[in-house]
Symmetry: C2
């Protein structure tokens, strides 16, 4: 995961690693013009909150959140994912990783989503946090002005299998148990639903996001 | 979740619940010809390993695993999911829930998968374990005799977006980090892959299973 950060544009401030790790990753470190401070495994255990043994720790600043105005200018083309009130860090991390796989241009979180820099989220992203642009904003203001159509995933939406899915769009995924709020559902241009063939009451939020992104990419 | 078990065919042996829960669920209990033993919330806390408060506990037998011969006779039509060495209980639980959503006819686990009756799996299935048939067997013997084609999900497979996906098939998903073993990959009739548009190294196993099942159902 740390190697993915070193290969990305994400700025890292300080690094602390074992002698072995520094030796193995010298080329990568040099490319990024970083020097890692050598520490022992015991010291790493004391620094980190992880229970599994690790060889390296880095300090990095969170990405600055652009203004709503700047964000609007980004949302004129491409595929974007909007998340309302996603609470489970594992879900958010998996969604970020999946969005990275499907080459989503940005993720826009509502202000009540779990923090994208929560340590459980960071781990579940498997390094994708280094590449994906994540913004936090009030989604209703953004949707009101959005030039891109917003597709809201709801249990009562139209069967996504029969829809023509535009290349440039925003996909909205809601809270794990409550789904999308009425306010945002009303602002969406289209409500879509993954058809159910069996009897489960719902799909996990990260699973629903993945299926919808795949279908958008298939077109 | 317990209501889903009561509405399913899954046999429950003993139930222990609060007075309130018993009153609220009398119709369901009567239908299933079950009597719940009344216990206090404090007693439930002592019985259960869950940290969140709950109102009911049930004892149920694990489903009997049919013989390989009986299993073969089931695998002549329909959509089935085979899992090799899935280790994370959350992943297995989410896969079971997703399989239930997409109306998968059965799930066949390799012998080195995490136990489907692990308490974390049971919780992540959100009740779907009551409805989905889950078998455990040596997958290679089964695939050798399978009249249904086996589609193996690998990073090097053919782009699934361009494939004609048969209605009757077995979808094989491999281990979270190692993927599908060479032995099983060789026995598969087709290797398929979810195309990557971004830079993530891989997809979560439960996410990959969901995307592939959705595409099979879309046809």
């Amino acid at each position: 995961m740390m190697q993915e950060y070193l290969q990305s544009d994400y700025p890292l401030d300080n690094m602390y690693a074992t002698e072995e790790w520094i030796t193995e990753n010298q080329t990568l470190l040099r490319k990024k013009k970083l020097t890692a401070v050598e520490v022992t495994t015991r010291e790493l255990e004391q620094i980190s909150s992880l229970t599994t043994p690790n060889k390296v720790v880095a300090l990095a600043k969170m990405q600055a959140i652009p203004s709503l105005k700047a964000m609007e200018s980004l949302l004129v083309k491409g595929l974007h994912l909007a998340l309302e009130n996603i609470q489970d860090p594992g879900n958010l991390g998996t969604i970020i990783r999946t969005a990275d796989w499907f080459g989503v241009d940005s993720i826009i979180c509502s202000e009540d989503c779990v923090d994208a820099y929560n340590s459980k989220v960071v781990q579940a992203t498997m390094g994708s946090l280094a590449r994906i642009k994540i913004y936090t904003t009030e989604l209703s203001s953004l949707f009101e002005k959005s030039p891109l159509p917003v597709y809201a995933a709801t249990l009562e939406g139209e069967n996504i299998f029969n829809q023509k899915l535009l290349k440039d769009a925003i996909v909205l995924i809601g809270n794990e148990s409550k789904g999308i709020s009425d306010e945002l559902a009303q602002l969406a241009h289209k409500k879509i639903s993954i058809p159910r063939f069996g009897k489960a009451e719902s799909l996990n939020a990260s699973v629903a996001a993945a299926v919808i992104l795949a279908l958008f990419r298939k077109g």
